[in-house]
């Protein structure tokens, strides 16, 4: 009962494995790849290029769906539909609660570490496991589009992400069956996508205001070499804050009217979606209105009407907060605003006119907005993947570490060993000895941050350097701290006297240790079969629902009169058995019943189609469209970037 549209021709299978670029966002994620022609393309799915970073679970805690269908369930099942996972990556349980506020699901501390675990219907997940569901969806989407397995990826993170957050992102990739070739900073990827690397020289500011984070980077270009001079930002500032502020404003207005929305999870979700709709509409229009269903508190819906000026007044302090990191990044790079040759805008929040205006005021030049701010990072990640795997571009990204690395010394003071904004990879070697006779180990506490006291910095890891028992002060152990090109810390030790390497067991404060990742991988492998079966059932179910609907529509139409009663009975019988097959929760019976129904409705479909065509040829607009064939632009699957 459907008209099938032939899929676009599959990609040439010259290379057996593809490497993609992934923008793993707070709100939305995307996957992109570089085609044979050398230009990057975002891969679109049935719902467009954006995959909402939302994961929906069934009532038994099994994965139900990811992306758009999951997003649609957010209001209905807030307790088992997870969003904003990126804000939990590499964080502690207390921090997650403090930052995300009241959550409809339970947040736990992991045993033996401070890392957070999210409980959904009795099952507990770490943020990397949750992100891996989104990554698997993107991987699957890319494999379908490219017609070959995707095993490697470049994944982007906010420039301001610390070691634990980067490591968590890398773990998520691994759990999704992807080898993460590189973790790239989002602003750097955006600069690549703009083709600004093609400028022989110049200084670029990238202003990245996304859903959950704000980042700014100052880059210097030099004949294919993209060197990050400085970076800054705020990991707690994004479009979500604007949404929350709007929701709080609306909620307080409702409270004034005697309607208390606190504790009404579904209603608050609806308010949030209404606020987002208003915010988006006000980027193009001077005023916008939206209606919100206030049930069960009030039967009559709420009519919201906002002027752009209202929104701008409300969010001006948030926009202002993004400018301080911009000034700091300029200072760190030793530059004035007038030294910047180009300004690039990234992230959905840069669609807000007030944001563009304030950025233009600061840098004294209109920012680049040519590429879709939602896609630019994924396109840049795809370019970086291409640079790293094909060698056909003489380009190189030199990034910096956003935070200083230090070790705890006497009295809880941090001694910095690698300064913030150092080019990475960066390393530092420190020598340690013992203070007590026959001491067998030296305890090290590694931290990241700019403050002087341990309590104010981010704990990365604690570990013990093993030492042979000797009189105090005699052992000499050189410990090398290396921040790799991904911004992730590696620690190695060497006994200075014997020259032998020491193995150091690093226990991350907010992450997963290697054994945990391996265990999860094994579990994921065990679950893989059920996950695939589940997915196949969900696909079959949605197809069955569409066919059932189409058949019912046809039976209710004029075609009904042209079909025998016997045939109608047969169709009704197959409809009933297809409905019954859905209860099995298995794809096979659904597919079989679907095939029988399709067989039984062949005649009905023919009659219905003939009737529809007759009606169509009497409609001049349809006739015109039919004679011209499908619009090639409308069905074009990928949107290439414009390179300026």
């Amino acid at each position: 009962m459907r008209i099938h549209i032939a899929a676009s021709s599959p990609a040439p299978k010259s290379d057996t494995r593809a490497t993609v670029g992934i923008d793993l966002g707070t709100t939305n994620s995307l996957v992109a790849f570089v085609g044979e022609d050398g230009t990057p393309h975002v891969i679109s799915g049935p719902d467009g290029p954006l995959v909402p970073s939302v994961i929906a679970f069934g009532k038994d805690g099994e994965l139900e769906c990811v992306g758009c269908p999951a997003n649609a369930r957010l209001c209905e099942y807030p307790d088992r539909t997870i969003y904003s996972v990126k804000r939990m990556m590499g964080r502690g349980a207390e921090e997650v609660v403090a930052e995300l506020g009241m959550l409809p699901y339970q947040v736990h501390r992991s045993a033996g570490s401070s890392a957070v675990r999210i409980e959904v219907c009795g099952r507990r997940f770490t943020p990397p496991e949750l992100s891996a569901f989104v990554l698997r969806e993107l991987k699957h989407r890319a494999e379908v589009a490219l017609g070959k397995p995707v095993e490697r990826a470049v994944i982007t993170v906010p420039a301001y992400f610390n070691d634990a957050q980067r490591q968590a992102t890398k773990d998520a990739g691994r759990l999704a069956g992807l080898e993460v070739l590189r973790i790239v900073n989002e602003p750097t990827a955006a600069a690549l996508a703009y083709g600004l690397d093609k400028r022989p020289q110049g200084r670029i500011a990238v202003y990245d205001f996304g859903g959950g984070t704000f980042d700014v980077s100052i880059l210097q270009l030099h004949a294919g070499l993209t060197e990050v001079l400085s970076t800054g930002g705020d990991t707690h500032l994004g479009g979500d804050d604007i949404d929350q502020l709007m929701v709080a404003t609306i909620a307080s207005q409702l409270a004034d009217a005697g309607i208390d929305v606190r504790g009404q999870l579904e209603l608050v979700q609806r308010l949030r979606q209404a606020a987002i709709a208003l915010k988006i509409a006000l980027s193009d229009a001077d005023k916008a209105s939206v209606q919100v269903d206030l049930r069960p508190l009030r039967q009559e819906p709420l009519q919201l009407e906002w002027q752009r000026a209202d929104l701008e007044q409300l969010i001006a302090p948030i926009v202002e907060r993004t400018l301080a990191p911009c000034r700091q990044a300029l200072r760190d790079a030793g530059l004035q605003p007038s030294d910047i040759d180009e300004v690039v805008m990234v992230g959905g929040s840069t669609r807000i006119p007030l944001v563009r205006q304030r950025v233009q005021d600061l840098f004294g030049r209109p920012p680049h907005v040519e590429i879709d701010p939602d896609q630019v990072v994924a396109l840049g990640a795809a370019l970086q993947a291409d640079i790293m795997t094909t060698g056909r571009r003489d380009m190189l990204l030199l990034d910096v570490t956003p935070l200083s690395l230090g070790i705890e010394t006497v009295g809880g003071v941090v001694s910095k060993i690698i300064q913030r904004n150092s080019s990475i990879p960066a390393s530092a070697t420190e020598e340690f000895t013992t203070s007590v006779d026959n001491q067998t180990g030296v305890v090290l506490h590694v931290l990241q941050g700019e403050r002087e006291l341990v309590a104010d910095c981010r704990s990365l890891a604690r570990f013990i350097i093993p030492v042979a028992p000797m009189p105090a002060g005699l052992p000499r152990v050189a410990v090398t701290f290396l921040i790799d090109a991904n911004g992730i810390l590696h620690v190695t030790g060497r006994d200075v006297r014997s020259g032998t390497e020491k193995t150091i067991e690093v226990k991350p404060s907010y992450g997963l240790c290697d054994e945990e990742v391996v265990r999860m991988l094994t579990e994921a492998f065990d679950h893989a079969e059920t996950d695939i079966a589940r997915r196949q059932f969900i696909d079959a179910r949605s197809e069955a629902q569409q066919v059932i609907h189409a058949t019912e529509v046809a039976l209710a139409g004029s075609a009904r009169a042209l079909i025998d009663d016997d045939e109608i009975d047969e169709i009704n019988g197959e409809l009933a058995s297809l409905r019954a097959s859905l209860a099995t929760e298995h794809a096979e019976p659904v597919r079989a019943a679907l095939a029988r129904l399709n067989q039984a409705t062949l005649h009905l479909a023919e009659v219905a189609l003939a009737g529809a065509l007759n009606a169509a040829v009497q409609n001049p607009a349809v006739e015109e469209a039919l004679s011209h064939g499908p619009d090639p632009a409308a069905s074009k699957p990928h949107h290439g970037p414009r390179l300026s």
Binding site: L225, L397, S422, S423, P425, D484
Partner: protein, 232 residues
Amino acid sequence: MTVLHDTTLQPGTPGPSAPLRPWVLDDRGHVDLERTGTPDHFAVLGLPRRLGLDTDHLDVTFRSLVRGLHPDRFAVHGPAAVARAQWHTSLVNDAYRTLRNFDRRVAYVLELAGDLREERYQPPAELLVHVFELNEAIDAMQDARDEGDAEAAAQAERDVREATATIRESRAEVTARLVAAAADWDAAQAASEQAGAELPALAQARTALRAGLGHARYLDNLLTRLDFSATQ
């Protein structure tokens, strides 16, 4: 795999400041950085140990080295090649970052000689008077702003600006003195290398560098504080 450009990582000139450990070469005659240990920053970039250096040349050297060494170039060659590249690039990055900046370069030369003692710098009395005036002006500015007295605030801001200009002048003088001391150090270092032993002039030059650096850091901290007050 080519470790580094052949001419770049040659063992340092023998002499008082040559590295403690001799370079270990791999089977292809290239410097094996893992077995050599951490070489000094000048050697990594193939430069003579001198404070006077051509920064344009330094930039060119850095870019050409990093283009060949960066781990992204080895992404498809397996984890061992990437790990090696990470380590090599980190040495080049660390060397470039340290030597690119004159003050850091001076500090590094003192550190190599084991002469970068963290002693408390005693500023001259004349400077202390300036600092005292400056603190008064900053306090007056804050008070005037808090009280909303625009006229007094403007006057205090002018005082702060004036004091800042004086500090900046002092900083420029210190830089000039440091540059002169650096030239003395370079000459003494060259002479010591020739003699094959450390000459007394080298220690004298270090003393001048250490004093200049302490003075410079003191002034820089002041200026950072002034920048901060100005933006508040």
